[in-house]
Symmetry: C2
C-alpha cells in the first residue's frame, strides 16, 4: 500500500523539479484530500513536507487515540513527526523543517492555506521563498488507478443498494428528512464509511433543485420526488441522482419534462470520450435543454470529477479548459426545476473509457426509466 503512495510522492517531486524556480525546492501539502492521496491517511490538521533533501515527513498534532485511524506505519519513505503541543500548526512546523534542511524555496498550496497561516510560515522561516504549488496534486489525482476505480465501483454498488431498498418501501407521508436519514443508514448498513455528501431528498415543489437541504415536507401522491445520495468507501465518493413520480401514473407535463432531462443527460453521457473537451460535455447536455426552452435551468455545470472529494477536477462547465482522459470518473447531472412546481434531476457517476473498450463505464446502474412509486 505504501508503495502506491511513495510512487505518487515521487511523481509529484518530479513534476515540481521540472517546474523548479531555482534553488532547492521543497513542497508543503496541507489540503486533507491531497495528504490522503499522497500518504494513505489524513490526520486532522496535518501537513506533508516533501523536503529538498529527499525526505518526506508527515507532521501532525498529538493524537490521544493513537490507533488505526492515526498515523501511517513508520516507514523509511515517510517519517512521522508529532508536534509537542496541541495548539501548534503543522504547516508552520513544516516550513521550519524545510528551512533547516536546506530548502531555499517552499511550494505551498495557496488555494488552501489561509493568509494568516501563510504569514505564520513566512515569519518562522524568513529566508525561505514561498511559491504557489497550484493544483499540482489535484492534477495528479485526475486519472484514477485500478484500485481507486475499484473503490468507486464498490461505493456505487452500495449507493445503488441503498436507493433500491428505499424504493421498495412506503414513501407517501414520510418527510424529506426522514427519507434522507433512512438512505444514510442504509449506506452504512451496506458497508459505506459514511455518506459521500449530505443526502438530498426533494419532493413536490422542491423536486429537481440541485442542492436541496431536506425539510419536514411530506411526500404526497402526484409529487415528483428527486433524491441525490452517494456512499464513501475507502475514502472514495460517488454520486447518484434519480427522480420518481409518486402515485400510479405521471401527469403529461411530468413525462415531457422527464424525457427532456433524460435526453440531456444521455447526450452528456455520450459525450464522455477521451480527448473530448470538458466544455463539450456541458454543451452537449445544455443544447438539449436549450432546444426545449430550458437553457437557463442548467446552472453552472453539467458535472464534475469525483474521487477523494465529491467535487474535484475536471469541471464540466462552459468555461472549462482541458480535455477528458480515460480513467477519469465524472458525474453527469443535469436537471430542470420549475419554481412552484418541482422538476427532474438525473445524475450518474461514470468512468471515461475509450470507445474501443465499450465507451464510458457506468458505475451507478439504478434504472433511469421513470418509475411511478
Amino acid at each position: 500500500m505504501s508503495e502506491v503512495h511513495l510512487a505518487r510522492r515521487s511523481r509529484l517531486r518530479d513534476r515540481c523539479a521540472a517546474n523548479a524556480v531555482g534553488g532547492s525546492t521543497a513542497v508543503l501539502v496541507s489540503s486533507p484530500a491531497n495528504i490522503r492521496y499522497l500518504t494513505g491517511c489524513a490526520p486532522r490538521g496535518a501537513a506533508l513536507l516533501l523536503g529538498a533533501d529527499g525526505r518526506d515527513t508527515l507532521l501532525t498534532l498529538p493524537d490521544p487515540a493513537a490507533g488505526p485511524q492515526g498515523l501511517p506505519e513508520p516507514a523509511d519513505e515517510l517519517r512521522a513527526l508529532i508536534l509537542p503541543g496541541a495548539d501548534g500548526d503543522p504547516a508552520v512546523a513544516a516550513a521550519e523543517l524545510a528551512a533547516n534542511t536546506g530548502s531555499g524555496v517552499l511550494a505551498v498550496e495557496e488555494h488552501h492555506l489561509t493568509v494568516a497561516r501563510h504569514r505564520a510560515l513566512a515569519s518562522v522561516a524568513p529566508r525561505l521563498r514561498l511559491v504557489d504549488l497550484g493544483g499540482a496534486v489535484e492534477q495528479q489525482r485526475l486519472i484514477k488507478d485500478d484500485e481507486e476505480i475499484a473503490a468507486l465501483r464498490i461505493a456505487a454498488e452500495i449507493t445503488d443498494q441503498a436507493l433500491g431498498e428505499l424504493l421498495e418501501s412506503i414513501l407517501v407521508g414520510r418527510t424529506e428528512r426522514h427519507l434522507a436519514l433512512e438512505l444514510e443508514r442504509r449506506l452504512i448498513d451496506h458497508g459505506a464509511d459514511g455518506p459521500a455528501f449530505p443526502t438530498s431528498v426533494a419532493t413536490g415543489r422542491h423536486s429537481g433543485l440541485p442542492a436541496h437541504t431536506p425539510t419536514d415536507r411530506r411526500v404526497e401522491e402526484g409529487d415528483f420526488l428527486s433524491v441525490r445520495l452517494g456512499a464513501r468507501y475507502g475514502g472514495y465518493r460517488c454520486q447518484i441522482g434519480r427522480t420518481f413520480v409518486i402515485g400510479t401514473a405521471p401527469a403529461d407535463w411530468q413525462v415531457n419534462l422527464y424525457n427532456v432531462v433524460f435526453a440531456a443527460q444521455r447526450a452528456g453521457r455520450e459525450a464522455l470520450v477521451p480527448g473530448t473537451e470538458c466544455r463539450a460535455v456541458d454543451r452537449a447536455a445544455r443544447q438539449v435543454l436549450d432546444a426545449a426552452g430550458y437553457g437557463e435551468a442548467l446552472g453552472a455545470r453539467i458535472g464534475h470529477g469525483v474521487g477523494l472529494e465529491i467535487g474535484e477536477d475536471p469541471r464540466l462547465s462552459p468555461a472549462a479548459m482541458g480535455k477528458l482522459d480515460a480513467c477519469v470518473p465524472v458525474t453527469v447531472e443535469p436537471g430542470v426545476h420549475l419554481p412552484g412546481r418541482g422538476g427532474v434531476r438525473i445524475d450518474d457517476t461514470l468512468v471515461v473509457r475509450p470507445p474501443a473498450d465499450g465507451g464510458p463505464e457506468l458505475l451507478t446502474i439504478t434504472t433511469k426509466e421513470l418509475l411511478a412509486l
Copy 2:
C-alpha cells in the same frame, strides 16, 4: 429580526472606525458563521461588504432555489447583489465594489481567506490597501444576547431529550454507528435543524476518546459507553457528553475513574465566574486529573465557546489569554482514556453567570450520576 443584525453591523463598523488605519475603511466578511451573525443568513460562498460609503451589501452566487433558504428580504439596510455567473467569487466582487465606492482600505478576514483568493482581490482592486480584520467578528460573537441563549437552551433541551430516549432503549449488541445514527434521527425528531457536529459513540476500549468516529464495534456487557452529541437549532449549537456502564454493576476501576473525571469536570464548572481567566478554568480541572495521576490525559483544553459554531472563542486552555464574561456559553469536557481499556468523558454546555444570579447556568441537564444501563 433585521434590527438585531443591523445593530451588530453598526457595532462592527464602530469598532473598525476606532481602529482605522487611515483612509476610508471598508470591511469584507467572508466566513459563513460571521456572515450569518451579521445578516441572519449565510448563502454558500457569500461575501458581506460594509462599505466606506455606509452601505452594507451581501454578494452571493446565483441560487436556483430562490426561496426561504436564500437571501434576506430586501431592506434598506442591506442590499443584496447576485453575481451573474456561478463561477465568480463574491469576495472578489466585493473588493471591486469597495474600490468603486470610494474605499481606500479594505479589512479582510485573513484567518479565513485563502492566499489565492486574497491575491485575486488584490489584482482586481490594485489601489485598495488590504489589511487584516482579525477576529473582530468572533470577538463580538463572544457574549450572547437573550435570543441567542434562548436558541441554545432549546438546542440543549432537544439534545437531552434525544439522549434520554436512547438510554431507555436496548444498547447491548448494537454498533457505535447505529447508535450514532439513532441519536441523530432523534435530534431531528425533536426539532433540531440537524446535529451540531458528527455524533460520537465510543464503547469498550474506545470509550473516553475525545473525538472518536463511530465504528462497527458492538456494545458489550461491562463496557464503558461514552457518547457526545449536540443539536443545532436556529443555527446555534450545543454539546453534551456522558459516559455510562453497560450491565448491572460497574467494576471498581470504572467507579474510581468516573469519580476522578466527575470531580475534574465539577472543578471546571465551578471555575466559571465572570472575570476569571480562561486558563484558570482549564487549570482547575487539570489539577484534579494531575493529582490522580492523569495529568497527561486531558489534551489541549478543558472546553471552548459555543454558538453559531461548535468550537468558538473563548478557548479554555492553558495558554488562553482573556477572561470570562457573563452570558458567554462554554463547554467543560474533561476526560481520561486508558489505551486498550477505555475511559470516561463528561461534557456540559453552560452559560457563565454572576454568582449573584446563581452561578453558571447549566443547559445540558441529563444526570451526571454514573448510570448502569
